[in-house]
């Protein structure tokens, strides 16, 4: 026995791996979550580009200390005193040949002879900083250097401080992303909860007919994941206009945003957040007539 399903009629049977109808609530949730994911993507992109901008110096931070040639007698003591500061990984005395060669590169062939340069250049120490620099490390280096009449490269200290600041910014970015992910999960949970309440009769009937809980809840879990996935793709697409608009400025900073890396992060993050929201929404079942006494 076979019957024809009329044209335009598409039977929608609920439960299991079937998505519930996509309505206005879902569209709104999609929009809100996409904007939140877009903001998260911007933060991620910002962290990525700042990382590029500061370059590789942050991987090996060195502070240079300069001692005038007339104080050469105290260079060993200064080196030992610098090495004794907590947080200092090592101190290297830069040889005169190395200093002269570096100066030549920097001056780019001005014709100054080596002997003149060697006479004018101070004794230089490269102080390597460990990963866990103390709060007063830079002040300690400056104090020790000052005690021996030496000077510290201030720009390098500023950069090292910027490195600390960037690390804090990185932590703040992670925190903000966590808060936004939670907010998104709650938005999705709220949307699905509205759908669940709107379809309470249907879910109740399915349970009365002996449906398993996964069968009843699966469409909502799928919907949560789908909303998150779509929002992730949408958020990724919304990054492009901004990157295009700032293209010249980013180019001037020698920064190249890698949007391709951001796509899997946003899509996966959106899907996980959507699933989390769906799990929260379906945690408490709505079937008032099926209470065990």
């Amino acid at each position: 026995m076979s019957i024809d399903i009329p044209a335009g009629v598409r039977p929608r049977l609920p439960g299991g791996f079937k998505l519930p109808p996509f309505g206005m609530h879902q569209v709104l949730a999609l929009g809100i979550v996409a904007v939140a994911l877009w903001a998260m993507g911007l933060i991620g992109l910002g962290v990525q580009m700042v990382g590029q901008w500061v370059g590789s110096w942050q991987n090996e931070i060195r502070i240079h200390v300069y001692l005038d040639n007339k104080d050469a007698a105290s260079s060993d003591k200064l080196s030992q005193a610098l090495a004794a500061i907590p947080g200092v990984q090592g101190v290297r005395t830069i040889s005169q040949d190395e200093a002269v060669a570096w100066m030549h590169r920097w001056l780019a062939g001005t014709g100054v002879d080596d002997a003149t340069l060697a006479k004018r250049l101070p004794i230089s120490f490269a102080v390597s900083i460990g990963d866990h620099a103390g709060k007063f490390l830079f002040r300690d280096i400056r104090d020790v250097a000052g005690k021996f009449g030496a000077k510290v490269n201030r720009e390098e200290i500023s950069l090292a401080r910027a490195h600390d600041w960037l690390q804090n910014l990185h932590k703040l970015a992670w925190f903000m992303e966590g808060v936004m992910a939670l907010a998104m999960a709650l938005i999705i949970a709220n949307t699905l909860r509205i759908t669940l309440i709107a379809r309470a009769d249907e879910l109740h009937l399915m349970r009365l007919m002996g449906a398993r809980e996964w069968f009843v809840r699966m469409p909502f879990l799928l919907e949560g994941v789908l909303v998150g996935l779509m929002a992730g793709v949408l958020a990724w697409g919304m990054q492009w206009p901004l990157v295009w608009a700032l293209g010249d400025w980013l180019h001037a900073l020698a920064v190249q945003p890698h949007l391709g890396l951001l796509l899997p992060e946003l899509v996966l993050g959106g899907a996980i957040t959507g699933l989390l929201g769906a799990l929260v929404a379906t945690m408490r079942r709505i079937s008032p007539d099926l209470v065990d006494y």
């Binding site: 026995m1 009769d201 009937l205 007919m209 449906a211 007539d289 006494y293």
Partner: protein, 233 residues
């Protein structure tokens, strides 16, 4: 009658709600397969509560209730779910889904049981033809009359071919003629071997469609026509 397997067994069955209200008290009786049972009694007599215990929506507070050999007091949720797949339920307000077509409503129990579409569609067509609605497959329930809606509910209850149908006041909102037709379908199903347990206020139906009559009053069993005796005058 002794060789007919029992479908429902009750022994000193009691149901007390968390509010303290005793809905069913000390009911002992048994229902064999293939019987047509009328549960009668005033509002609040315990008919609906008794029916809810049959499909596990409420668990007995004390006593024994076995439905298809399953002890409903201690049965695991998974076993109760399996039992529900073998019971068709018809409600007074029919509980049809108005946002879904007649087809989708009737197909719901089959979908829950994992029927594939190639089997499901002809089955839905067949049960709708049985209740005289074979041409309303793609209509929405709101376009149907009250009697037609109740017939859709009957079709839904019988779609998975359950051995037992529970009908809670299925004719409560219907006029006399429509109620008679609804009952015709239920007796038709009973004639095919399905046990039908029907709660009703409508005593007129008992005359036109005879069956075993169980009377409840304030949660207690008052009389059982099958036993041929009244427990209370």
């Amino acid at each position: 009658m002794n060789d007919v397997p029992l479908q429902v067994e009750m022994e000193q069955l009691m149901l007390r709600y968390p509010t303290g209200k005793v809905a069913v008290s000390g009911v002992s009786l048994s229902i064999a397969k293939g019987q047509f049972i009328y549960l009668i009694g005033e509002s609040g007599a315990g008919k609906s509560s008794l029916m809810r215990m049959f499909y596990g929506a409420a668990r007995p507070s004390s006593g024994v209730l076995k439905v298809e050999q399953l002890d409903m007091r201690s049965a695991a949720e998974s076993r109760v779910r399996q039992l529900r797949q073998r019971i068709g339920i018809i409600f007074q307000d029919h509980k049809l889904l108005f946002s879904r077509t007649v087809f989708e409503n009737v197909a719901l129990p089959l979908r829950v049981q994992g029927w594939k579409r190639d089997r499901l569609v002809p089955r839905v067509q067949k049960v709708l033809e049985f209740v005289g609605l074979g041409d309303r497959l793609w209509s929405y329930p709101e376009t149907l009359s009250g009697g037609e809606q109740q017939r859709v509910a009957i079709a839904r209850a019988m779609s998975a071919n359950p051995p037992m149908i529970l009908a809670d006041e299925p004719t409560g909102n219907l006029d006399v003629d429509t109620a008679q037709r609804v009952l015709d379908y239920l007796t038709g199903l009973n004639a095919q071997g399905t046990t039908v347990i029907m709660a009703t206020h409508d005593l007129q139906l008992l005359e036109s469609h005879p069956g075993r009559v169980i009377r409840l009053h304030q949660g207690a069993l008052v009389s059982d026509s099958h036993a041929g005796q009244a427990y209370v005058d």
